[in-house]
């Protein structure tokens, strides 16, 4: 049996791999595929593909998330599989700052360079780190909340998930800003929302069951947590500004909540730009150009008042449909 397998192996080992200059295959590996945030990243990657094609550089994109969302082992497998696939390079949003270190090092060793986007990696093997300044985003949320509450009140931080560097930086930024206002009292900061809307909703309900009457302001560091907390606030009849809610990221539901006044502000990143710059940076490096180790893609605070401005509108509703046919 072993020899049979060996024969199959040997038969295909001899076929040479296709490779040509200015022809790149690039795998873009998000943390998951169901969040709208990742669809914007995908759109940005496709935008890069189209623009590079106009310059005569052919890029073939693979868009591939882990089989089970937020499963680190599954994401490692995807990175390994594309390393074996000998893609020209990988654009990766790591689910964990440590668990993905070894696979990225292995990829680099096998000659597949990696650009990290969105969340940082505790490694120096990546070509570049293209992401939002999440700490600053968290600070902006904290400052806004302090102003909206007039500098005093009880606030809650509903964390996202352990080990996710991007959201942890937001949480730290938020706590940093809150500390500067002695009138603000942090009544809960140790609960985690988790990855899906359902568990985030349950966590929000449980939190509000305990603190619903005393809380004045809440910060949620990602899209699912924001949507879930808004829903939970509506359930107990304290939405619409009674409790000031600042969220992070824009999905169609949270934009609706912002318009309705259930969410007071959203800190938004530019995921489309992140996906775009991830691919463009990788291609530049593949062409032998020098790339920056850290590329900031910007962060903005959107409120009901400024959400009509064209630049904010584009951040709230990235032109995904223009790039992705679904």
């Amino acid at each position: 049996m072993k020899s049979l397998l060996g024969a199959v192996l040997a038969a295909f080992l001899s076929i040479p791999a296709l490779a040509a200059d200015k022809n790149y295959t690039i795998a873009v590996i998000p943390k998951g595929t169901t969040h709208e945030f990742w669809k914007s990243i995908h759109a940005g990657a496709v935008k890069a593909e189209q623009e590079l094609a106009a310059q005569g550089i052919t890029v073939k994109l693979f868009w591939k998330g882990p089989l089970r969302e937020d499963d680190r082992d599954q994401q490692i497998q995807v990175v390994e599989n594309f390393t074996s696939r000998k893609v020209s390079g990988i654009v990766l949003a790591p689910l964990d700052s440590q668990a993905l270190v070894a696979p990225v090092a292995t990829a680099a060793q096998a000659g597949v360079p990696v650009v990290v986007i969105d969340s940082d990696l505790k490694s120096d093997k990546q070509l570049s780190f293209v992401a939002t300044d999440n700490f600053k985003g968290g600070q902006m949320a904290g400052e806004f909340l302090a102003k909206a509450l007039g500098g005093k009140g009880n606030v809650i931080l509903l964390r996202y998930q352990v080990g996710s560097a991007s959201t942890e930086a937001r949480e730290e930024g938020f706590l940093d800003a809150i500390k500067k206002h002695p009138g603000l009292k942090l009544i809960s900061s140790d609960q985690h929302a988790g990855a899906t809307r359902e568990v985030a909703y349950q966590a929000s309900q449980n939190l509000l069951n305990r603190f619903g009457r005393e809380v004045n302001g809440i910060f949620c560091p990602n899209e699912t947590a924001t949507i879930a907390m808004t829903k939970a606030l509506r359930d107990i009849g304290r939405a619409g500004g009674q409790v000031k809610l600042v969220g992070f990221d824009s999905g169609s539901q949270s934009v609706l909540d912002l318009k309705n006044g259930d969410v007071q502000a959203l800190v938004v990143q530019d995921p489309l730009k992140m996906g775009y710059l991830g691919v463009v940076t990788l291609v530049q490096a593949l062409q032998g150009k020098k790339v920056e180790k850290r590329i900031d893609t910007g962060v903005s605070l959107v409120t009901k008042e400024n959400m009509g401005q064209p630049d904010m509108a584009a951040l709230l509703a990235p032109p995904i449909a223009k790039y992705l046919k679904e």
Partner: protein
């Protein structure tokens, strides 16, 4: 004489899954990506990705042959992984850490087995309960966080792929898994204990009347499987270089699927180590191949689900033909 007849029936039994593996290989060979899929480096990759499911499937084969099931193994992998990371951080040596993890896994298995055999409770319910208890304990032990193991510890290199573009050298984890598979095959096929496990799975009452000590044998299957799961926890930690209390959710289902694709019957009395290993390989190969073809994630889930139903359906069809 007896031995050679056993060998033939064993080959027949694993023939189905092996044909399945060849079929999957053949399908991928028709694609343009074959030049990437059929490389030494990628086969090493597939083996490394199979190891954790495979080690789990060794113990699960024993349990399922004996007519039982264990739903708690994913949680035990997470628990022992977190425990291992904490021990390494606390300065324990790799050897003693490994020993503790294997023993803790075995103890949890023995506990499961003792309840199932002692109180004659449904394995499904007991291990479903244990799944929650151990998962919760893992989160408690990890203080709701991932515990980063020292990345330079020898344990962290168990699954590391040195020279990723070549088949050799295989990481130690693969060799250990192969060694364990041989031991398990001998235990299941060549020992009195193994024959008792088959007898209990085929007909528990008959086994009891013919003098098999059903309770202790059953409990032992869970305990032995537990030892292996403890080791799988070490491998998982090595792969992530951290103990993650949320890892391996649903791993038990992958393991059960591998065993079932490998020709085991969930009603007990049938199954083989080789078949289970091939079952695990089929699933890893499907995942790997569809990955490299750039297929959507949902298509992988649909395909693997279909393969499970087809494999079991075909197996039943073959057996009914053989009988008829």
């Amino acid at each position: 004489m007896n031995l050679s007849r056993g060998t033939i029936s064993r080959l027949l039994q694993s023939g189905g899954p092996f044909l399945g593996l060849l079929l999957v290989c053949g399908l991928f060979a028709l694609t343009e990506e074959r030049s990437f899929i059929f490389t030494g480096g990628n086969f090493k990759n597939i083996l490394v990705q199979t190891v954790i499911v495979a080690v789990g499937a060794l113990g699960m084969t024993l349990i399922i042959v004996g007519g039982g099931i264990d739903l708690s193994v994913g949680s035990v992998v997470a628990f022992t992984g977190v425990l291992g990371a904490r021990l390494l951080v606390a300065g324990w040596s790799p050897w003693s850490t490994t020993l503790v993890l294997v023993l803790v896994g075995g103890a949890i298995g023995l506990f499961n087995g003792a309840i199932i055999a002692g109180f004659r409770m449904m394995p499904f319910i007991v291990t479903l309960g244990m799944m929650g208890i151990v998962r919760g304990s893992a989160k408690w032990l990890g203080n709701n966080q991932t515990v980063n193991a020292p990345p330079d510890s020898p344990v962290s290199h168990l699954m590391a792929r040195v020279n990723p573009t070549e088949f050799w050298p295989l990481p130690p984890g693969v060799w250990i898994a192969l060694g364990l598979a041989v031991l398990m095959a001998i235990l299941l096929r060549e020992t009195v204990f193994g024959r008792h496990v088959f007898a209990i799975g085929a007909n528990e009452t008959a086994a009891r009347y013919s003098g098999v000590r059903v309770g202790p044998v059953k409990a032992a299957t869970y305990a032995i499987s537990g030892l292996l799961i403890g080791f799988a926890g070490l491998l998982q930690m090595s792969r992530l270089t951290q103990g993650d209390p949320t890892v391996a959710v649903g791993l038990e289902l992958d393991i059960i699927a591998a065993v079932v694709i490998g020709g085991a019957s969930l009603s007990g009395g049938a199954g083989s180590v080789l078949g289970s290993l091939i079952g695990a390989l089929i699933m890893a190969l499907l995942r790997n191949g569809t990955n490299q073809l750039g297929w959507q994630t949902y298509s992988q889930e649909i395909i693997i689900g279909t393969v499970i139903v087809l494999a079991v359906g075909l197996d039943q069809w073959r057996q009914s033909r053989r009988r008829g």
